[in-house]
Symmetry: C2
Subunit: 232 residues, 2 copies
Amino acid sequence: MRNLKRRDKLYIQAYREIRGYIINNGLKAGDLLPTEQSLCQTLGVSRNVLREAIKSMELMGMVQACPGRGTVVKEFNLDFIFQNVLFFAIGEKEDVTIHEMFGIRKMLELAYMSQAFQALSMEDIQIMRECANTIRAKWQRKEFFYEDDRAFHLALFRPLNNGVLLSLLEAIWAVDDGFQLEQKQPHLDNTIAKHEAIVDALEKHDFPAFARAMDAHFSSGKYLSSGSYEEY
Amino acid sequence: MRNLKRRDKLYIQAYREIRGYIINNGLKAGDLLPTEQSLCQTLGVSRNVLREAIKSMELMGMVQACPGRGTVVKEFNLDFIFQNVLFFAIGEKEDVTIHEMFGIRKMLELAYMSQAFQALSMEDIQIMRECANTIRAKWQRKEFFYEDDRAFHLALFRPLNNGVLLSLLEAIWAVDDGFQLEQKQPHLDNTIAKHEAIVDALEKHDFPAFARAMDAHFSSGKYLSSGSYEEY
DNA sequence: AATAATCATTTGTCCTACAAAGAATGTTTT
DNA sequence: AAAACATTCTTTGTAGGACAAATGATTATT
């Protein structure tokens, strides 16, 4: 019986090798990759194949190639998601995708909220309070506050020191963000009240209230549950 | 004052052109792109440059190139994004990251298990039973059964029809897989019993037992909780 | 008519060559 | 000696040609 899974195309293998090289050697932003010639020899592929791999990485923002200088590793950020991939998500099916991603974010935040509650320090809570204040201020000036909303949630989970969780939440946020910018934001006032309810509960160190506020935050404004947080 | 932003590299221009072609012409999954030769002429670039653009798209899962056939547009999915997000999240602290990813998988599976329980059909449960049988058989022959383990869990959540969740679970599985293959698998026998406990509960349509089995599945063998599932 | 062989098309891989941009070095000028 | 300029070297950018491999269509064979 022969091998079922044909080997991947060379440029994909090269891509994985280079990605692995960056990770295994702990290359950071600004560090130089070996030259194309050197990588060709090391990996045993032609310069074309190698470039197909590297150009893919460059397009995604992982590295940047400069003639005469070399190829430097860039800070990995998720911009490429909406710049290079997200636009692909047009059509009706992608509404479903966004909805699913939002659902996963909800599940993750609810699953980790008790850990977060324990890990949060006074400083973290203060940061969240400032975010909430900024959000309210921007809302009154009719400005967008996605960045502050994002900062609010990231501050909530940063103390967990869980890099994977943060990466995931950021990735989902980036996608949500890119889409919500286009469509009108519903129930803005509710969103603001919910954020403040969360901080209030944290400042009082009241876990049940915190859990209720988190739960409410993820339920649509239209289905506003019985007003346990209306007083805020 | 001269132009601040030098013109982009050709492969990036080509990438944008092709992306625009797909969108403007409303190409859907399965549709063919023009041939490389044709695109080279249309865009006025060399085949190298064109391929750097197309291979980037292929790596991100937007299209798939087949020799003798052409390059077809693919269904949009997030597999690539998640895999890279997670892979880059690994960084230097492998052990911690793997542990975090396993934790996220646990949280997600537990969060969605009740939905899964309701969505599962008899056929799905039968597939899981077969996976469990295969796992036991391979275990007795001292073979690896990661693929079957993966199939087991994916079968559990496929009926949810949640593409994002599946992508995410698969991505985590892929990373776990790559790392766990090297290290020895602990508590194998427990793993097998736990899988079978899950299927048993599903076949009896007993949600409490199912939830208990799922919970047990994610607790390490060393911390085996009081034997509610020892009888299996 | 079914099967096998052939051919045409398309992508996969490698190669060479030169252009362009940046860095390092050496030279000239002040 | 220091600064400005010119040269050279290294590295990536772009182009084109050549052939292999895979697929699909066509033709020949049984």
